[in-house]
């Protein structure tokens, strides 16, 4: 069971909002890069998040670059999952590869600051603040297995190959 508080963002949050190209010189210094997470969307975000919180967004979250650092700094900031109405393809794959759950669901009813309880195995999201319950779209089997192992590198270390 995942429990945490919601940080709500809008539609089309790009990888440049999350980790802009102008900070490319920090990509080999991840703790420093992580201090700037989502800076161009909300300058106060990095200082307000707590371990286990949830990043909730609208449509097409993470569009743009292939930079895995985008998913990485969101995880490093302590987020336990990303919830969005839709997610750009490369970001989705990157997040799962790093062991960061990405849940596709209708986020319209979730407000900034809400308390959520998420049961990944049961596929349910409970909004404790407003009492509503949501379901999220099924994650493809191979991605679930990668997620279960904590990411792609631990998965490959364990199996040595892709197991379909």
């Amino acid at each position: 069971m995942l429990e945490g508080r919601v940080f709500k963002f809008g539609d089309n949050i790009s990888t440049d909002h999350i980790v802009p190209g102008r900070l490319a010189h920090l990509r080999s210094n991840l703790p420093e890069l992580a201090k700037h997470v989502l800076e161009d969307a909300d300058a106060t975000f990095a200082s307000r998040v707590n371990l286990g919180d949830f990043l909730v967004a609208g449509v097409n979250f993470g569009l743009g670059s292939s930079r895995e650092h985008a998913a990485m700094v969101i995880k490093m900031a302590g987020m336990s999952a990303v919830l969005a109405k839709s997610v750009a393809r490369i970001f989705f794959r990157n997040a799962i590869n790093l062991g960061l759950p990405v849940l596709i669901c209708d986020t319209d009813g979730i407000d900034d600051g809400d308390e959520l309880h998420i049961d990944l195995a049961a596929g349910t999201i409970r909004d404790i603040t407003n009492g509503s319950q949501l379901t999220f779209k099924k994650i493809p089997e191979i991605m679930l297995r990668i997620l279960d192992e904590g990411g792609l590198m631990p998965y490959i270390k364990k199996y040595g190959d892709f197991k379909l």
């Binding site: 440049d16 930079r67 895995e68 393809r89 892709f162």
Partner: protein, 417 residues
């Protein structure tokens, strides 16, 4: 059963009868990183404990995003890439050779290949009939080691363009128009497959522009059939032997088909801060522009510089508008010198920067000031993209860019042609 281009290539490379929606593991023919995604990839490769690269001759490290490097941290990242190439024996494309996607098109991608790169614009090689897609560093580290990766076979949207472009209208206008129509997530998880009589006659340079921007609609791949024009292009690059024809089956199953009449298209511009926020150039006339940037994997080819030079010949940039030009590769730069385009552009007071990504992603060589507006031939205009979240980016064709450089305001190129 009839197949789309994506289904054909993924079937061949997986040894399965791959259909949209299937998950397959497929052989990778080319895998690469660039200097802002490469260091993480190489660290993951080393930490993964892999013995060796699956195919050294088809593994490439490109130094193009910060080339030459503007600061000590990126210079040190470059050392990491150079040392890995030396130790592991893979290919290195060092500073000044050009943008990864241009070099992949010139020298590596083949029709029917699977190409994966740690850069979202890897889709560019779809112009040559390769299934090419961008991934993150972990996926590429594994592809480096195993020579394969997993794919969900995408559903395909067929885009059929008929007729011919009006004077002043180019492939860039077509793809901006399409993204404006379907939206920045209009093809998410799907392949875009381009055809129609306008595409049959379209040179590879234009197909590369269109394939390049397919990811701006969220697409996993932007695919073209490989035909006689593909063969001629590969022959010109001295690799005619890499050619094989590939085309979708006539009765392949598409999620939907979008018809575009090329005759009806006009010079198109994406407004800040999203690529799908399109308007016609003529509707934006009067918008002041402080910097024009011509180049990138989208529009930094010889044909693009030729269009810009033809418009700028005998003219000068507007005194309040900087003009920056980045040829997409060293080969393009050499050809642009030989043809006189560089002389024309420099006489028009353009700044020529080294082949590479240049000002596109905000690292250097043309970072915008607060409140400034840039009209760029690149593929992305997200807030902060060119190094400053307080700046504004418009995207357009090289012709619109050149016309705008002269007037200092967004200008429909048909006014100066």
């Amino acid at each position: 059963m009839a197949k789309t281009l994506a289904e054909k290539i993924l079937s061949h490379k997986s040894g399965l009868d791959a259909r949209a929606g299937d998950i397959v593991v497929a052989q990778v023919d080319l895998a690469f990183v660039q200097d802002t995604t490469g260091p993480l990839t190489l660290r993951e490769f080393e930490a993964g404990g892999f013995d060796q690269l699956a195919d050294k001759e088809r593994t490439i490290l490109f130094l193009d995003h910060a080339a030459p490097s503007p600061n000590q941290q990126l210079s040190t990242d470059h050392i990491l890439l150079r040392r890995f190439a030396e130790k592991r024996g893979c290919l290195l494309s060092d500073v000044g050779q050009g943008v990864c996607h241009q070099i992949v098109a010139e020298s590596f991608a083949r029709p029917g290949d699977i190409v994966v790169g740690a850069d979202s614009h890897t889709v560019t090689a779809g112009a040559l009939g390769a299934f090419a897609t961008g991934m993150g560093s972990s996926d590429i580290a594994v592809a480096f080691a195993l020579g394969k990766t997993w794919f969900r076979v995408p559903e395909t949207i067929r885009v059929v363009t008929s007729g011919s472009f009006q004077k002043g209208v180019y492939a860039k206008d077509l793809i901006l128009h399409l993204i404006g129509q379907i939206g920045a997530d209009g093809a998410t998880y799907k392949a875009l497959e381009f055809g129609g009589d306008a595409v049959d006659l379209m040179p590879i340079s234009d197909r590369l522009t269109i394939a390049n921007m397919s990811v701006e609609a969220g697409a996993k791949a932007g695919l073209f059939a490989a035909d006689d024009l593909t063969r001629d292009y590969l022959t010109k690059q001295e690799r005619g032997n890499d050619y094989q024809p590939i085309a979708p089956d006539n009765d392949a199953s598409y999620q939907k088909t979008i018809d575009i009449d090329a005759v009806g298209l006009e010079p198109t511009v994406s407004r800040p801060h999203s690529v799908d926020n399109t308007a016609l150039a003529r509707e934006l006339e009067g918008t002041r522009i402080q910097q024009v940037f011509i180049g990138t994997c989208t529009n930094g080819r010889l044909e693009d510089l030729a269009v810009a030079a033809s418009i700028l010949k005998g003219k000068k940039r507007h005194p309040q508008t900087r003009l920056i030009v980045a040829p997409a590769s060293r080969k393009v730069l050499l050809e642009a010198i030989e043809t006189g385009y560089i002389k024309t552009l420099v006489e028009a007071e353009a700044v020529i920067i080294s082949p590479g990504c240049g000002a596109c992603l905000g690292l250097h060589q043309g970072v915008l000031g607060d409140g400034e507006a840039c009209l760029s031939t690149a593929n992305r205009n997200f807030k902060g993209r060119m190094g400053n979240p307080e700046a504004f980016i418009y995207l357009a064709s090289p012709a619109t860019a050149a016309a705008t450089a002269i007037t200092g305001r967004i200008t429909d190129p048909r006014e100066v042609l």
